[in-house]
């Protein structure tokens, strides 16, 4: 059966605390910490972007997959912060990992769902027998306008997955996608920051689509919430996934390992994929995992993974996701953050 043969994550070392952002805009940090369960978020360095983080995550995935990169037939990168408007991220990543030139590259974009979109297509190509291995990456240096509620959560990170049929560590037993046209969050051409519809991003958007996909995939697979050792939902903040998990009948312990947002922030296309990497780092053979992404505009991709005996061989072959989250981090002030995120208008 087709599934994941290697996975890897990457997050930059810079962090800014919610208190530091709240201090600048005169808001109540506690309301973000309590209300949205946010503590701090990752910030990319001046020399980091979607391409650099994708390369590092892909290299970690290759270390675990232990395959010749020349056998990778597709490199897909999902992001809403591709460094170029016109020029693919996938070719740079493919070149850096040694997968070029006999490879198919594509950049995906679907708000925060672009990463699982790439995973869905990569898996389909493997199931169709079109190639031996396919690489899918979800990565973002998320944008949020200064003083907007999004600024407290928009973060940077990447997760990469290599799909194949040999030495699979997590079989994909079911997939399901649920989409409608819902204008809850968008960014028009040439606009620097996205806009969102405030509370409208909740019930008719995030909750409707996550629940729609989660209920349907559990119905077609005959699974109940208690059948899953772990569940990972898209994480725009710490509160939404906790609430939707409760509404669907999951216990907080099932969400705990994959819920990175409180100390990482929302890595947009990297959000639920990075949560999945944290789960794979500790998953045991035989366990089943439910993952449901969400992208504004709007839609959810749901996957059920079954962990195989092979997982224990690869977990220690590359840095764990929590290594990137907890070790080596350095806190910055808002001035440094503004510089790193290029929020300061410079002279000619």
């Amino acid at each position: 059966m087709a599934g994941i043969v290697g996975y890897g994550a990457y997050a930059p070392r810079y962090r800014i605390k919610v208190e530091e952002i709240a201090k600048v805009w005169g808001t109540d940090a506690e309301s973000y910490k309590r209300g949205l369960r946010l503590e701090e978020k990752s910030v990319p360095g001046l020399d980091q972007d979607v391409i650099t983080m994708s390369v590092e995550a892909a290299r970690n995935a290759l270390k675990r997959a232990r395959i010749d990169p020349k056998k990778i037939g597709a490199v897909y990168i999902g992001s809403e912060s591709h460094p170029y408007a016109v020029k693919p991220s996938g070719t740079v990543v493919g070149e850096a990992i040694g997968a070029t030139p006999d490879v198919h590259c594509a950049d995906f974009e679907f708000a925060c769902k672009a990463g699982t979109e790439g995973m869905f297509v990569a898996l389909g190509l493997i199931e169709a027998g079109k190639m031996e291995y396919a690489l899918a990456i979800g990565a973002d240096t998320s944008q949020g306008a200064p003083s907007d509620a999004l600024e407290y959560s928009t973060a940077a990170g990447a997760a990469a997955f290599i799909f194949g049929t040999k030495d699979v560590i997590a079989e994909v037993t079911h997939t399901f996608s649920y989409m409608t046209d819902t204008p809850d969050f968008w960014r028009r051409e040439y606009m620097h920051y996205p806009r969102h519809a405030g509370r409208f991003t909740g019930a008719p958007a995030y909750f409707k689509h996550i629940k729609g996909a989660a209920k349907a995939i559990m119905e077609i697979s005959g699974k109940k919430p208690e059948d899953f050792a772990h569940v990972v939902f898209h994480q725009p903040n710490g509160k939404f996934p906790t609430t939707v998990g409760k509404q669907l009948g999951f216990k907080p312990q099932q969400l705990e390992t994959g819920l990175l947002c409180p100390r990482l922030g929302n890595t947009y296309s990297g959000s639920s994929p990075m949560g999945l990497t944290a789960v794979l780092d500790v998953a045991k053979p035989g366990e089943e995992i439910l993952m449901v992404s969400y992208g504004s505009g709007a839609g959810s991709d749901a996957f059920i993974y079954r962990i195989t005996e092979k997982i224990t061989e690869v977990q220690g072959l590359a840095p764990k996701t929590t290594d990137y989250l907890d070790r080596n981090k350095v806190y910055i002030d808002y001035g440094t953050y503004a510089k790193l995120r290029k929020k300061i208008r410079m002279g000619e």
């Binding site: 001046l46 590092e56 460094p83 020029k87 070149e95 850096a96 040694g98």
Partner: protein, 132 residues
């Protein structure tokens, strides 16, 4: 020659650390050479350099060229990789006063510079301190 053509020509070295290993004496050259400086042979095997090493020496740039002004002060170092090959590159993710000779580093893929707001983005390798 335009920057993009020169950048493109160096991609195997900048992205994948491709070096030339002499088929005669086994010496590894980075960047690759046409003729081995040790034995004079002209045949080489392509090898990828290891991504771990240590700082052999470094200097701190406080008055940089215009494309690097926002990063100053930053360090440039000579890294001795695990196989003994020396690599000169920027040392990122640290303040210069944290650095010391012998410090273990890992090679990461980073943005080197942008050719202005509208030009190409140049990627390549940098050393990053290993703090485990």
């Amino acid at each position: 020659m335009s920057t993009s053509a020169r950048y493109w020509r160096e991609i195997p070295q900048r992205y994948r650390l491709e070096a030339g290993k002499c088929s005669g004496c086994g010496a590894i050259w980075f960047p690759p050479r046409l003729v081995c400086k040790e034995c004079g042979k002209r045949e080489f095997e392509v090898v990828n350099l290891p991504d771990r090493g240590k700082v052999q020496t470094f200097t701190v740039i406080r008055v940089p060229p215009s494309e690097f002004c926002d990063q100053a002060p930053y360090a440039l170092g000579v890294i001795e990789l695990e196989n003994g090959v020396l690599l000169q590159c920027q040392i990122a993710d640290c303040s210069p006063d944290e650095l010391s000779v012998g410090m273990p580093v890992r090679i990461e893929f980073r943005k080197i510079k942008e050719e202005g707001e509208a030009g190409i983005i140049c990627y390549g390798y940098k050393a990053v301190p290993v703090r485990e």
